[in-house]
Amino acid sequence: MIVAKGLTKVYGDFKAVDGIDFTVRRGESFGLLGPNGAGKSTTMKMIASTSQRSGGDLLILGKDPNKHGPEIRAHLGVVPQQDNLDRELKVWENLMIYGRYFGLSRKFLKGKIEELLEFAQLGEKRNNKTEELSGGMKRRLTIARGLVNEPEILMLDEPTTGLDPQARHILWDRLFRLKELGVTLVITTHYMDEAEQLCDRLMVMDKGKIMAEGSPAELIKKYSSKEVLEVRFGSENNAAVAKKLEGIGERLEILPDRILVYAENGEKALEQIVKKGLHPVTSLVRRSSLEDVFLRLTGRTLVD
């Protein structure tokens, strides 16, 4: 569905996306992770066939967006990071005009709008202007709008930012169903639980480059230990104590408020710490998660 080779985007002399290769298969759900400014949205816009690439090859639905932009976009659904609804128009009108851009008939759209209002749980707000919606409601409307043409690929740039936990879970459920219908999903997110829940495959980016790629389980296996011990010694003491912890576990990560000890066995690591005569204020052993992978790959305070 999507094939990128050496994909590059340059703004002035700044490389926002720096020669990345990746493939997304039909029906797959593909996640882009990375810190702020990594180049996720820029990559999304190139896939969405709006932003022109500066270099490399890109094929979407088998076509080159430089030559067939409108044809490709006709079959895509795009949810941009920044909502761009028409403030003056009502909720239902926003769905109507967006559907019209695809050349869909008013008759078809009438039914579609009902479904989408239900999808976004905005039935009661159908006649409100969008400027009267809350932030999360606008987000839901933008997501619903992206579905109006029943896209083959749905691109979601931080879809759940600003959604309450309940709305997030509902959205995950709905996206999961879209996936079952065969829709290909491309998602960026800063929520690791979301990436873990939704994505079959992830790509971690930083500074325009790909740092790692694989399924959530693969990434955790490759880049993190089985368990993580989190210990707190009080913010002022963490850095000093960390020096004494060297050698315990496979790796340490020192965060402002706590120290993460990556180890095969967290309890054992804790015993070793206590043996050294150190007594953390609190301690917690948990399984490794994507969050740890993310820290490892993009964090700047690595102590190996």
């Binding site: 022109q52 079959h75 761009n84 609804l85 078809f108 039914g111 043409n149």
Partner: protein, 285 residues
């Protein structure tokens, strides 16, 4: 909001491949953009009508009738072009209405589309192209322009300033002036990053002088020669002069007649080409 997480969302799903034919948007995209712009305008239809009728009425009562009576009384048989002052003034007022009407629908909507609401980016995320957005916005602006000129004409007709027969040709001339100028303004609006008072400056240093020095209130030739150039580059003057020639038969040389028509077309051609370029670049960044 419903608490029931399990509500089965009854989504029918046929898939874009089956329901969206890209060729439809490729052919008719500009119309869909215009449809949206008009939908937006309709939110303000009462103010558009009220303004379209109220403004000229006030203007005609004060300047047209007030000043007109004064001018007609003092000039007597030596009246400009041998017609009443109001008749002389009418084509100029219509040109202003045309230019203003079209301009209002290209400047603010463009700021909205690129900066405030970013709606142009949402259009462009569908099959719609930058060129189609330009064409659609202009199409809707011209609808507003024609309506505004027509309303003005009704007022002028009521005041006896124009004749019924001259209405179509004046409508055409004033709307073409609007088209020429607005297409340039559309490209200009798309080139600025944010408003920052640019439009206020344009109003003060372009629109107002254009209105004042384009032979609106007296023939351009009564102005000192070093100010006359403003008229020559102003669509307002070309429309005014053309309107005078074609409505009440002000004498005019044929080369000038051709020049007047050409100015509108040249402005439109340059404006569209420039706007297409700026829109596409900005959307593709």
């Amino acid at each position: 909001m419903s608490m029931d997480l399990s509500t089965d969302n009854k989504m029918t799903w046929t898939g874009a491949k089956n329901i969206v034919d890209p060729q439809v948007s490729i052919r008719r995209g500009a119309l869909y953009v215009a449809e949206n712009r008009i939908r937006n305008m309709l939110k303000w239809w009462s103010s558009i009508i009220a303004f379209g009728l109220g403004n000229p009425t006030l203007y005609l009562l004060s300047i047209g009738i007030g000043v007109g009576t004064l001018v007609d009384n003092s000039l007597g048989p030596n009246a400009i072009d041998g017609v009443s002052y109001l008749t002389f003034l009418a084509p100029a007022l219509l040109a202003t209405a045309g230019i203003q009407g079209a301009m209002d629908e290209v400047t603010w909507p463009t700021m909205e589309g690129f900066v405030w609401d970013r709606t142009f980016f949402s259009m462009n995320a569908t099959a719609i192209t930058g060129n189609q957005i330009v064409n659609g916005v202009m199409l809707a602006a011209m609808a507003r322009c024609v309506l505004q000129v027509f309303l003005y004409e009704l007022c002028l007709l009521a005041f006896g300033a124009i004749t019924l027969e001259s209405m179509p040709i004046l409508l055409l001339v004033s709307s073409l002036a609007g088209l020429g100028f607005a297409s340039l303004m559309l490209a200009f609006s798309a080139s600025i990053k944010d408003d920052d008072g640019v439009f206020a400056l344009v109003g003060r240093f372009v629109i107002t002088p254009m209105f004042m020095f384009s032979g609106t209130f007296y023939p351009i030739t009564s102005m000192p020669i070093y100010l006359q150039w403003i008229g020559w580059i102003s669509p307002q003057w070309h429309a005014t002069n053309l309107g005078r020639a074609l409505s009440y038969g002000m004498p005019i040389e044929s080369w000038l007649l051709i020049l007047h028509w050409s100015v509108f077309l040249i402005m439109a051609v340059i404006g569209f080409a420039w706007a297409h370029r700026v829109f596409t670049r900005r959307l593709e960044a």
